[in-house]
Symmetry: C2
Subunit: 173 residues, 2 copies
DNA sequence: TATTGTTATACTCTATAACTATA
DNA sequence: TATAGTTATAGAGTATAACAATA
């Protein structure tokens, strides 16, 4: 004899769940965001965090972060580049970059060798493993970029890049 | 009798410093960014971090972070809002939001009171100190937004907000 | 003295897991 | 059982300070 309340969600439970979902959506629709949506700073943060979250999901099993992809790409285009140059580009403290370099080196993706001309420097380079990894994660990046193109009309990608670039430069010191 | 090397930088030292500055700028100009500048994800991160850094500088003495400003604004427009609603909006774990709420409450900017109808909920509200603080930091936000308008042509703000919004929604799950 | 880089330490933001209280 | 919230803990990512090596 079945009990009045079955552990298997029946039609009633299912309906309740859908109703709860609607109620939540309704709650969110009623929320007043004030002036926030009109702030570029706010929309920038929302977009950046959505994109970052999505990419992190895709990259999870590679163990490479979006920031590390930038570093690997810079090393590919500029073999032998110095840490100090990268700190200037990304406005990072040299201690911060030193840790990233150490982590990438430990995983065998990059090597740092002493500069012959000036022994204070270390020349950073991709290993062949690093090059392979970069190729792999670049595919993820570019598939994400194509997903963005799906919500952009022709010409809008270029306009967005230009606008973002001008905002960056307005606050670069 | 003055030593050969004076601790006050003379014209020679000044020239050397300028030359070093030029050399650095030259180094940076020669860097190959590869495909990075063509990625929306990359430009988004650069812009967001430049804007965030600038705002953090302005807000330093208030002790309020950009994320906390969003929360305070939401509480102003939606007095009595529940934590759980905010976690859905900002895709944050309830534990993360609990810590933010605790920190703001400790500083006397918000209060959380038990909901009479359903005791599981806590209704969040601004205190008068919170309202005053929000007014103060909103001035910083809006002055930063005006600085952005300086690099935007008429109509571009609206277009940028729309583009960012579409990117956010493309990756919201 | 100035520059490059490393290490120790700490702070912020975030998540996961285990928990309590309530429905 | 499900939901709201808290606490403990841990992992990124970042900065500051002190240091060593080199110029």
């Amino acid at each position: 004899m079945p009990s009045k309340r079955t552990p298997i969600p029946g039609p009633t439970a299912k309906k309740a769940k859908i109703a709860a979902g609607r109620r939540k959506a309704q709650d969110l629709a009623e929320v007043d965001f004030g002036k926030l949506p009109g702030y570029i700073g706010y929309q920038l943060r929302q977009a950046q965090s959505a994109v970052f979250r999505d990419l992190a999901r895709t990259l999870r099993e590679t163990g490479v972060t979006p920031g590390e992809i930038s570093l690997l790409t810079m090393l590919k285009g500029n073999p032998g580049i110095k840490s100090i140059t990268l700190t200037r580009i990304y406005q990072l403290d040299k201690a911060t970059l030193s840790l990233s370099v150490k982590a990438l080196a430990k995983r065998g993706l990059i090597v740092s060798t002493r500069d012959a001309a000036d022994n204070r420097y270390r020349a950073l380079e991709l290993t062949s493993e690093g090059r392979a990894m970069l190729q792999r994660v670049t595919r993820s990046i570019e598939s994400q970029e194509r997903a963005m193109d799906d919500v952009l009309k022709p010409g809008e990608r270029g306009r967005l890049l230009d606008l973002l670039n001008r905002i960056s430069r307005a606050f670069a010191r």
